[in-house]
Symmetry: D3
Subunit: 136 residues, 6 copies
């Protein structure tokens, strides 16, 4: 019996959408007000979903506390109250769109879990905009 | 890397569930109070989810502003503050159940997007009842 | 010890904003698309808040089941899946703005409760627009 | 056209995570504070999602009232305001983790529906922890 | 300038509504299924609101971290994953209705704050039922 | 009949808590990670509540569209996708705590409304932290 277990978490961060290899004009044209050089920010709401077989001993797919701790170490401690462009190494050369942030989070969390488990990341940039990535 | 980008929107509308080729008795039997000839209404909450490859240039699957504008033109301007049965051409001959509304929205939005993108429509008729359609 | 006890409920209804003693032009000028003669509709979300002393015997201000039953009889049975303008007597001569609906609900619920209890009505016309009335 | 129709419901229950064939020490080691012998509890929020073809006559995949009634009989009447470990037969020998509760709910609801319909259960144990099971 | 600062928190607990000085019949008559002797439970969601003058030095009424820590110590550590009737001293002789729990939380938090600050407690027993108490 | 009409809105912004007349050490001591010199950010959710008499002609306290437009001009256009410390004049010398932002918003909106109307500002800095100010 394969079940998906999901845990919500959150972090607040500043960012701007920006490619340093583009002119300012092109950055503004493509990214609009999201390109503001003084940054803007979000309360990112994160759902990490882990799919696998129920362990018949424990009744767990994964101990939710284990998952919560991995999210804290890999995401909250790394991103919360940070400027993603300036302070988070993964975005030094990578534009911190919601899509790219979700991929980075996936790549940080997946190796920390049993390889038999599938992982899906849902990231709300705002309550109205969100993205989903599952490593495919 | 395939990512799903989702955008929330909303519209308010009146409707009734009704087939003009059925007797009043049959309409009432099947559709109950949803068949009220004087109409009732809902705040429909809509999620449009678009799945595709991340553009490595922009970091976007789709510019969310583009998606927001398509939803505004195809759904909000067409359905908001309307009587679906009386004023929306797609429901002249089609019963405006949540299922059928979701299919209509899918059929309006899908052709406006790059054909490589998959689309899924989630439509909340109430906070407790919702439907999902992805063109399958 | 005065405590406020609140109960959420909901109903779906059609309505239009309209004064029959005004010209169509004036109705449209003042009420815009809310004046659509074919109606539109909402999922109204209701919070009824009752304030009074805690009964030291039961630990209740009011049995929430009693409050739930009053809301069902006075509001849900009377308004749900109805056309407020056409089918609800209180709005035959009264424009069903959110403000007026809240006052009508207050006036229906207040007399059903112990007169020592204060009542406040919060009515969400949409998730983004809501009104509050407490009989003052 | 295959559409998924979802209905939300809820129930409140007490439970503890516990295996009677384990020592108290092992139960505490594995289940932590969830093993509290005096029980704790949750407001479980449930989403039952049913996928099938739209009936071209009615425009329904399933009459949502039918689904609501099945959920009431199979889940709400059976679990609400109960102690899952003590009073619900399915958990006499089965540890009531969120994963196992979702499987039990699936197994109760699936046979009540047309066999052509797929079913998925999403169960929120808290607003931050939830599981999904679809019979696979 | 008086501002209210609010912080949300949560705890999960089992309880039953019950007076030991009443007969079982009277307990069942008054408290219905909430009197289940095997307990049921809730995810309690808590809002603690603190009102006072803005400190012109810091721009704070209260450092939200201070408030968060007080809530953790006084409420979360004391109530989370507990059986309120059996394990929480305040409810040994006091029926744990939502009203009484809110008063107990108020009485625990108020003395930990500067006496110039007003405190209001909002406690959601379920997403549909909640109570508010402000020491009056 | 005095009714309160509330409208929700939102804006995303970067900020840091910081007093330029304090040493870096004192800023860090008092404001912790909120003092990050590279900024962090939030999705601010705003509720503007306006209280007044129902106009017996229209059934409105205020046309919600008027209120929506004022919020757009005074708050969304001024704050959205901005760095509050760097780009918003009101915070050049004022620390952008949630408390101070709420007061600034109140002071921008109040004079745009009929002086007979009372105004209350509720500002969510995160889904878990919010402040309320009503000009007292």
């Amino acid at each position: 019996m394969r079940v998906t277990v999901s845990r919500k978490a959150h972090f607040n961060a500043a960012h701007r959408l920006y490619r340093k290899d583009w002119s300012d004009e092109k950055n503004t044209l493509i990214f609009g007000k999201c390109n503001n050089p003084n940054f803007h920010g979000h309360n990112y709401e994160l759902i990490v979903s882990v799919t696998g077989e129920i362990d018949t001993e424990t009744g767990y797919v994964i101990d939710i506390k284990t998952l919560k701790d991995i999210i804290k170490t890999e995401v909250e401690d790394a991103f919360d109250h940070k400027n993603l462009n300036v302070e988070v190494p993964e975005f030094k050369e990578l534009n911190p769109t919601a899509e790219n942030i979700a991929v980075v989070i996936y790549n940080k969390i997946k190796p920390k879990l049993d390889s038999a488990l599938d992982v899906e990341i849902t990231l709300f940039e705002t309550p109205r905009n969100f993205v989903t990535y599952s490593g495919k």
